[in-house]
């Protein structure tokens, strides 16, 4: 297989891992001030992701780093072009990360409440902005003949991209609620189940709208539409199955079904993108592709060996982490966060 195609697939895999894992972290952060009414409840909620959120966030760092290593032109055009959204995302992620650590270190309720809302914003914004970013990438943005993004900031806030952002927000909130239903106790998990059910409805509505809107905006231009539709089809079926499991109260199965939904959506849109990496809405000849945006065959080869050795090891020890911390968190527990 062409290493450039292989790396396109690996980048997709890294983004799937990132959205699956940070997806529920973002969802938990979004739900924090709403599901948690008392301090012990909020602490319990934070402690469900306490041991794992940082390791989860590395999936985003790795996706970005792998992007830089395998398709440096894509990295350069995307990160310079989407400047303001990325800066906003960074501000949000900074505030979330520090918030998780600092929040419970002071007794003051106003300190804790402020940080809780900052964690909320720090979780909502990245979810929204990643959806906006991916939607813009697959739809195509103004890119000139020098691979430079020339569209400005407001171009990125077009209705399609905003709907993509909202899709990510509801999908991750549902995913987070399902996660909380598995990790909480003392009645909080029941509230989480209720939220999961409600956000499932929202996700279904928004996702269907987004998929319909995606047809003229993205899918009709896809070179490999068949593969894309297979993955998007899997996503829709998984979402419906998720809804069924949620109704049955089978939260673990619902969680995995939600995961498959995230996988299907991500893979479906990346497949619709292929072999472009950043289509130009100005002129298809200006598009960045896996051919003109990649690094050299040698670099791709080196990176392939590195990735194929290290990723399985990472999966093993991250899985061990989840196994170690499989217990539910009670509001009566001694809290670390």
């Amino acid at each position: 297989m062409d290493l450039r195609t292989l790396w396109f697939i690996l980048i997709t895999v890294l983004f799937i891992g990132f959205f699956f894992l940070e997806g529920f972290d973002y969802g938990v952060g979004i739900l924090l001030p709403f599901l948690g009414k008392r301090d012990e409840e909020r602490r319990a909620i934070l402690n469900t992701i306490g041991p794992v959120w940082d390791g989860n966030e590395v999936w985003m760092i790795t996706a970005g780093g792998a992007l830089f290593a395998s398709f440096p032109q894509w990295y350069a055009t995307l990160f310079s072009g989407f400047y303001i959204p990325l800066v906003l995302m960074l501000l949000a992620l900074i505030v979330r990360g520090v918030g998780l650590e600092f929040r419970s270190q002071e007794e003051s309720q106003s300190w804790r409440n402020t940080w809780d809302w900052l964690i909320f914003l720090g979780s909502l914004l990245p979810a929204l902005l990643w959806g906006v970013a991916i939607a813009n990438i697959v739809r195509g943005v103004p890119i000139d003949e020098n691979m430079q993004y020339v569209g400005g900031f407001f171009n990125l806030l077009n209705p399609y991209a905003l709907l993509g952002g909202i899709t990510f927000v509801v999908l991750f909130t549902m995913h987070g609620a399902t996660y909380l239903a598995l990790k909480l106790t003392n009645g909080l998990e029941k509230q989480a189940i209720r939220v999961a059910n409600r956000t499932w409805v929202a996700t279904l509505v928004v996702a269907v709208l987004f998929l319909l809107y995606s047809y003229p905006e993205v899918l009709s231009k896809a070179q490999y539409l068949g593969i894309s539709l297979v993955f998007l089809g899997i996503a829709v079926i998984a979402l419906l199955v998720d809804g069924y499991f949620l109704k049955q109260g089978e939260m673990l199965k619902a969680f995995w079904a939600g995961g498959v939904t995230i996988l299907g959506v991500t893979a479906g849109f990346f497949a619709a993108l292929y072999p472009n990496v950043m289509p130009s809405s100005l002129n298809p000849d200006y598009s960045l592709t896996i051919y003109n945006a990649s690094s050299s065959p040698y670099t791709l080869k080196v990176m392939t060996i590195v990735a194929l050795v290290l990723v399985p090891i990472v999966l093993v020890y991250q899985a061990w982490t989840y196994h170690t911390f499989r217990q539910r968190i009670s509001t009566k527990d001694k809290m670390t966060y």
């Binding site: 790795t62 780093g65 960074l90 270190q105 020890y317 911390f325």
Partner: protein, 454 residues
């Protein structure tokens, strides 16, 4: 509002602040892992108490290091996209390896360590901390490999868009990193040592904290720091000699040696004047620079004029000398703070060895508190020398900094100002809050028993 100028300020400020947190993480993870291993081996509670006590300081610092680190990966694309295009074939790989190998390890196991005190056996728990420590230090290796290519390109050939990697092994074993990583590693040890010493001294002053735990911390931090500071300066010396050969423009500027000299004097103090190309108020020792640079008191050391001439012949017309005043003073301040740290550690070690309690010398305790700033001064000025001293190049000999910036049509001056102010203010506020939390934490430590026999 020139986007290039703003981008340079932004990268410098955000990276310097990030590097406030990095050395402490590098050094303190290992220090705490050593203490926790001692607990596992001896079963003595005081070791575990020390680890648990210092872990609060460690974690506040670690969180700030992580969040400022995320920005680092993005910065290359945000403000330096042309650099990313030119360097992508080489630069992206070490960053990706850093994430795959080091960040995953560090970030996964820190979570297990923080939350796993009551879930894991002491042996497994200590191992988890070692894995975190290894992860952090591995990340330093890989980012320094990336930086080392910028300082001394190797293992590459030129393509039409930029550099193309020809040997990953050469890139990864760049001689520059063989000096640079140990230098940063030992700087980490030194930083951890001064933070533990300084905060312990503060606790003695406010008469709080468990005395056995503090005495233990002071003894171990002193030895840890001595090893660190002696080795950081030793490696630094040889690194300096290496750079005289590899980056003559940096070293000539760092010495404010306007004209080649044989032998060359070492300047202890000077106010370099770039317009007249002279030094005011120069205090120098004859022949010492010849000895430091080449190990030979009678050797010739290239001056700024000769280096500039050679570079113009090689690269065409232009100014190939970095800002002399800043480079000279960064270098001096780094070295002088290192020597001061050595002196302080030797004195504290001597007191420990003689069994003289630090608390008997309040002036020393106050000095130790203020000395927390010394490793931060050394690290900051060290990196200023490394990066400003490389100018006008962002990749030495291959790409000028001004050619690496994101085009103004893509990223405007206004946008850079937005990110500079936004991120800068947030960084400063969070750092301030972090320090405040540490100080409050120290004040919550149990008070010393009154009138006890010491």
């Amino acid at each position: 509002m020139d986007p290039l100028v703003l981008a340079r300020w932004q990268f410098a400020i955000l990276t310097i602040i990030h590097f406030f947190f990095v050395p402490l993480t590098l050094g303190l993870t290992i220090f705490l892992a050593i203490l926790e291993t001692a607990y596992v081996r001896t079963g003595k509670e005081v070791y575990r108490d020390a680890v648990k006590f210092w872990s609060r300081v460690f974690l506040i610092n670690f969180a700030l290091g992580v969040v400022s680190g995320i920005v680092q990966e993005f910065q290359f694309g945000l403000n330096w996209s042309e650099y990313a295009r030119f360097m992508g074939d080489i630069f992206g790989a070490p960053l990706a390896v850093e994430a795959l190998l080091a960040f995953y390890l560090e970030s996964t196991f820190i979570g297990v360590w923080v939350f796993g005190w009551d879930k894991l056996s002491p042996k497994v728990h200590a191992t988890v901390l070692w894995l975190t420590a290894i992860g952090s230090n591995l990340s330093a290796i890989w980012i320094l490999i990336a930086n080392s290519f910028m300082q001394r390109p190797t293992g590459y050939t030129m393509g039409d868009k930029g550099v193309i990697m020809t040997s990953f092994k050469e890139v990864a074993t760049n001689t520059n990193v063989l000096y640079q990583f140990p230098h940063v590693f030992f700087a980490g040890m030194t930083t951890a040592s001064f933070v533990v010493l300084g905060l312990s001294a503060y606790l003695y002053l406010i008469k709080r904290g468990d005395k056995d735990m503090l005495n233990l911390s002071v003894r171990w931090a002193t030895i840890y720091g001595l090893i660190g500071v002696i080795l950081v300066m030793t490696v630094g010396h040889y690194q300096g000699q290496f750079l005289v050969r590899e980056q003559p423009s940096k070293m000539a500027a760092a010495e404010a040696l306007w004209h080649s000299a044989q032998p060359a004097p070492f300047s202890f103090f000077a106010i370099p004047d770039e317009t007249t190309q002279t030094n005011h108020l120069n205090i120098e020792v004859p022949a010492l620079l010849s000895y430091l640079a080449h190990g030979d008191f009678s050797s010739k050391v290239e001056g700024i004029d000769e280096v500039q001439q050679k570079m113009e012949a090689k690269y065409g017309p232009g100014d190939y000398i970095p800002p002399v005043g800043v480079t000279y003073w960064s270098f001096r301040l780094m070295v002088y703070s290192g020597l001061l740290m050595l002196a302080i550690l030797l004195y504290v070690w001597y007191l420990n060895w003689k069994g003289i309690a630090l608390e008997s010398k309040p002036w020393l305790l106050k000095t130790l508190v203020w000395s927390i700033l010394l490793p931060y001064l050394a690290s900051t000025t060290g990196w200023m020398m490394a990066e400003i001293g490389r100018q006008p190049w962002v990749v030495y000999g291959l790409l000028r900094t001004k050619d690496g910036v994101s085009p103004a049509s893509v990223v405007s001056g206004g946008e850079v100002l937005f990110s500079l102010l936004g991120l800068g203010v947030v960084y400063i506020v969070l750092t301030y809050l972090g320090v405040k939390l540490v100080v409050k934490y120290l004040h919550k430590a149990p008070a010393h028993a009154p009138a006890s026999a010491d």
